[in-house]
Symmetry: C2
Subunit: 248 residues, 2 copies
């Protein structure tokens, strides 16, 4: 595992449903992390957690259970708490994207800081006291009509954003645009193809050269949008070559 | 619900675990969506799905069950399939962030297109045939050592990204930086405070004006980083004023 991923800890406080612990372990491992700490979970370990963890049982095995919140975050330079509610005294608050960027920067090889992302109880979140021990709060912008996010879902979203920011900063986030198995057709290839298409349309009697209307313009526009690759143009030209002209 | 959110459909193909259907319903509603279509689920409806849906039972009640994949996507102008594997013939492929932007643009009030996000089986994803009926594939960049994402987690990540892109395009994505309850201290306030601090440090005997070293420079640097607000400066000055000088 990469060093910067090791520097991000996920802390679950007083989790009541064992399934959520397993689901969180899976989400954490799926996103490349491994450090899960439980503050006084109701039930742990459990079969339910192991089942939900699926292929992340190693994360569960290494999960630390601690008695106090202070213990879970003691060695962290940056502590970020998830918050659903508006606070009476506003705290520095970010959205998940900015949170991901901040955590990635903090856990980078330059800073080498240990970061904790803290998640509260299923029904009541984190207490004010717990939130006030965080440097920063993060709020996931849920639907105001139904804002209560499942615990695993919150872990998943934040772990995902931190991973995205880490991949982005290391240049590993692909946009995939360049991954293709055949080179794109060049302008000349497309022009030759369009001439071939027009000739074929005329030879079958579909297109009347005296009243062509906008047919070829529409075809040109469509193939321009498609931006076919060279193998696709070759297939299409093969098809055109196989078309028999209308018998006179 | 906003019109553009209504134009995004979540299609689950051959889901085997009822809990995942409930979890997906909840994730969808949490992110502001409501349109869930199931293609031949193994079990539906079920108590397990209702339990996991929590406050999203209305989404489950309105969920359509169809016999074929073609039926689920028939009226959609854009179909995006989730893909975990490398394809033999590369397909247009995006990461979840770009996917969110594309869906948000497509479902906007300008385009008014119906979009489907399609999710495959828990164990085997979508078939090649199903993937080839998509305009676009999206790949969530999971940990290569454990890439098998839970179905709900995949729904959550993509629903979240579409929501973020929609909030961003409507200017509703807060960065929260401006939300504070007291105005920031101005340079003058901070200077007066630092003078007060220095005087107090000298009056208690903590700071020797003959050998001040870097103490005030470090304090200046720290308060510069903090950027205290006016109420915080007022509290600190109140404290300083309450400090009794060292009896001579």
């Amino acid at each position: 595992m990469l060093e910067n991923f090791k520097r991000v800890r996920f802390v679950l406080v007083n989790t009541s449903q064992p399934g959520n612990i397993g689901g969180a372990a899976r989400a954490i491992k799926n996103m490349g992390f491994a450090d899960l700490v439980l503050v006084q979970p109701e039930i742990f370990p459990s079969d339910r957690a192991r089942w939900r963890a699926a292929g992340a049982k190693d994360v569960l095995q290494n999960t630390r259970v601690v008695d106090t919140y202070a213990e879970a975050i003691a060695d962290c330079e940056l502590v970020i708490g998830t918050s659903a509610r508006e606070r009476r005294i506003p705290w520095p608050l970010v959205n998940p994207r900015v949170c991901g960027e901040k955590v990635a920067a903090e856990a980078s090889d330059t800073s080498k800081h240990q970061v904790a992302l803290v998640f509260g109880r299923e029904d009541a979140g984190l207490t004010n006291d717990e939130l006030q021990r965080c440097h920063l709060h993060v709020h996931i912008p849920t639907n105001p009509d139904y804002s209560s996010l499942n615990l695993c879902a919150a872990v998943q979203v934040l772990a995902y954003e931190v991973r995205m920011a880490m991949l982005e900063s290391s240049g590993e986030l692909k946009d995939f645009e360049q991954e293709w198995d055949a080179p794109l057709a060049k302008s000349e290839d497309l022009e030759n193809f369009l001439v071939h298409l027009e000739e074929t349309m005329e030879s079958t009697g579909f297109l009347n050269p005296k009243t062509p209307r906008q047919t070829m313009t529409r075809m040109r526009r469509m193939f321009g949008r498609i931006r076919p690759d060279q193998s696709e143009v070759a297939i299409l030209r093969g098809l055109l070559s196989s078309v028999k002209p209308k018998s006179k």
